[in-house]
Amino acid sequence: MDDLLSEFLTETSESLSTLDVALVNLEQNPNDPQILGNIFRLVHTIKGTCGFLGLPRLEHVAHAGENVLGKFRDGELEVTPDAVTLILQSIDRIKLILGHLEQNECEPEGSDDDLIARLNAMADGRAAGAPPPPPPPPMPTFESVASAPAPAPAAEPAAAAPPPPEPEPEEEPAPAPKASVPATTAPPPAVAAPAAPVPVGEAKESAVAAQTIRVNVELLENLMTLVSELVLTRNQLLQMVRGKDDSEFATPLQRLSHITTDLQEGVMKTRMQPIGNAWAKLPRIVRDLALEMNKKIDLQMLGAETELDRQVLELIKDPLTHMVRNSADHGLEPTEERKRIGKPEVGKVVLNAYHEGGHIIIEISDDGRGLNLDRIKQKAIQNGIATESELETMTPQQIYQYIFKAGFSTAEKVTSVSGRGVGMDVVRTNIEKIGGTVELKSQPGKGSSFIIKIPLTLAIVSALIVECASERFAIPQISVLELVRVTGNSEHGIEMINNAPVLRLRDRLLPLVSLKRLLKLADGDDEQQETFIVVTQVGTYTFGIIVDRVFDTEEIVVKPVAPILRHISMFSGNTILGDGSVIMILDPNGIAGATGESGLLGGTQTAEAQVMRESHADAKTSLLVFRAGGDDLKAVPLALVARLEEIEVTEIEHSHGKPMVQYRGHLMPLIGIEGVLNLRDEGRQPVLVFSDQEHTMGLVVDEIVDIVEDRLKVELSTDGAGIIGTAVIAGKATTIIDAGYYLPQAFGDWFGRNEKEYGSSDAHPPRVLLVDDSPFFRNLLTPLLSVAGYEVISVESADRALALREQGNEFDAIISDIEMPGMNGFEFANAVRSDARWAQVPMVALSSHATEKDFERGRQVGFNDYIAKFDRDALLQTLASTIAAAKGAA
């Protein structure tokens, strides 16, 4: 018999027996989504597999059954005994067909239209009441197996009884093969042994069983354990003899040692299999898929000889099949489309497996269209997982992660191949179950790739041994990225944001988790001089675990924890170290979960941060964070603040009912935030001093909190006067104050003065066009410039700026950022200079790259001047002089 077929038979009959049990369970707990999910998956797998094996009859029955189950799952159909009966019947039908298949290697003749019709009716929601046609025409063509398990009109009670009872023979119309409701636990062969003409069941058992010898995994497991023990004992013995050169044990011990090592390798090997075994089915699946979908697919399999633990292999087989199927079905475009967009006609799906540091990496990539971001967004909104505004703030990477959510299929139509949403959530769950991770990369139009990282073997993992509060713990090496040593005076220091420890690591804030606190190991927070941070990655979420000491890495044999401890999510198991002591194995997933980061969305935080960093690598700003008129944090860009002062309250004087102080020979008015002035009764009053040439103004605040250097992204803008908006600064929502609002409050003539200063004959102040892609800079510079007396128009891109030119706008000066997406500053300057309309307008470049070379290049393309960002004074001066020069020239 075809290997594929026989394997299918073995597998399917296993699934079927599980199904029977699960279905009966379902009937008892109709609302348990887990059971339902399980059943759905099993049927889905059966359907999927037989589709590829060319078993249309089976496939159709399974497909129809799956439809009904899908409705159950989505809550569109109620789980009634009738419905379950119907599903059980279709499973019986599947068994029957399988029996024949086993014997004759082909599907029996006949049709399942009646059953399918009823299933479809059920799926459409109209079947519940409609009794099936009484004694159904029992498929006249169905010869070899006398009569099908009659779609019994009265089978309902059978299924309704909780422990699956023997089928009620009296209700069976035919001298029935009693394959209908099998005993719960018995595998199908036992059940399907009716006195029917053909002893289907028995045949199956013998035929398939004879071909494979299935070694009980438990046996191997036991062997493995014994060997591990042997290794440990050997190590202890070696320890004892070490240092005694003349020991008579030395030689035999060495021999023992060698043999033990060999034995260990041997036993490991019994469990190791080339990954190619798991791939064996794929070429055919892909080939059939190619035919069905009318695509040309080239499946490349690299590294098929890479070996990994049998147990792991079993567990990743299905996920792999799913993913390859997905790539071929959804990933690759139809041939026509490929031709149209100029890609090679033949789509490529590449499977690549290799070892990397105790792990095996499997990559599945295709050169198809990539993930459809919009569809994922749509679907996420549809499924209520995320709102539109949430999606707005997410990076594509974050959004892609949604495909790992349950019930998330973006396939436009449900094909027989895929698109039922079974896929990726199961894949992820299965892989994580074995301590692995899945990463996903996708590029629109270029394809997507999944990278699976799994441990070589489940039995032995490499772990980092750490110590915390004198207790040792193991952290699986797979999730450890790096180790950072932190001492009291090193440049890396742990900083606290309101009790949340963080570490600056290469221009990034790494959230930290104190193991001591997490595991409640120590009562007091006795700060240590030296600690270590284990930088750990779960999915795409990176965080640091603070520990006291780090020892070696060690190969450990993972053992599950006792049942009474299973509820502690911080541990994935325990193990015995070489020195014989027991040690708990930390579960990075659990720790990440405990710190409030779920694997999925939180996980993408760093991804987001990274992306942001890339796009705004230089957009860090120093911000002064303070409190005033309330507990919430407020901030102003530090560049706007001239000085921070503390003024003796007694020095504050009042004039015209307004508070002011004498400050450096001038009177400085004091202004309160939001018009509320809360002066202290005694002591010193902190004041932010804003200054512009001869005018100074004091903004009264309650408390100066910190100066933070952070990327400033105003996320919520408000209409409130004096407020630019709200941004997240150092992890806290902070109100950004518009200093430009407060300045005129202090001096009525703040603007008037400017007009005088520029002394232009024009009635209107100079108009400045500000081009910067960063909303922050627009928000920062606009008030700054308007305070300085300019009329500012700001746009976020060069294109917009040029559009203004087309509209006939005129400006006295243009300030432009250099690094911008789309057209950059240099290109923009070229564009401006090449057209007569704005050719004479002075241009000032703003950039964080203020090197001589940049200046030179800036001048060449037509910028009149080039200033470094953040240099506020230089900007104002330059602007004034450039405009003056331009006016003078004109």
Binding site: E229, A562, P563, L565, M570
Partner: protein, 161 residues
């Protein structure tokens, strides 16, 4: 959890045997306890125990018994008694429960006694609620009383959380 279950309804299958039953005896705070000898795998002296953070407080930790990881339960704490003072070394009885090994930490392990069913009595109703939970019944010995511990209940942590 602390509802009062009539002592008579306690499962007493182990005690149903008409003749005698063998018990491993142990002492905690001077009180004699017994568990059926067949449930006992090992008797251990003081062991190096690894603390398990976040575990219930009665779980003393885990230890390595010939390559198997055994979870140690402090029976004193389980029975609501104070922790054993540091200087006194305890002993442990290792039992098998559903394939998992547990080590019951007691003050001292005594001899194995064959006890006739006739000397068995149910828990007196005055017995401390906490104890009644874990006691199957009492054997009247010549000079003292032996409390038969219900190992299953002792290890069933789901009930008191």
């Amino acid at each position: 959890m602390n509802q009062i279950v009539p002592a008579g309804k306690r499962p007493s299958t182990e005690l149903a045997a008409p003749e005698t039953q063998d018990f491993v005896t142990m002492f905690i705070e001077g009180q004699l306890f017994g568990i059926p000898v067949l449930t006992v795998q090992d008797v251990l002296g003081p062991q190096k125990i690894t603390r398990i953070p976040l575990a219930p407080r009665e779980v003393a930790g885990s230890l390595n018994l010939r390559g198997r990881i055994v979870t140690a339960i402090d029976v004193r704490l389980r029975l609501g008694l104070p922790k054993r003072s540091e200087e006194k070394k305890g002993m442990s009885v290792v039992v098998d429960m559903g394939g998992e090994l547990y080590s019951l930490m007691v003050d001292q392990v005594g001899e194995v006694l064959s006890l006739p069913a006739a000397k068995f009595e149910r828990n007196p109703p005055t017995l401390d609620l906490h104890w009644r939970e874990f006691s199957i019944g009492i054997y009247r010995l010549e000079d003292k009383l032996l409390v038969v511990l219900d190992v299953g209940k002792l290890l069933d942590f789901t009930r008191n959380e």
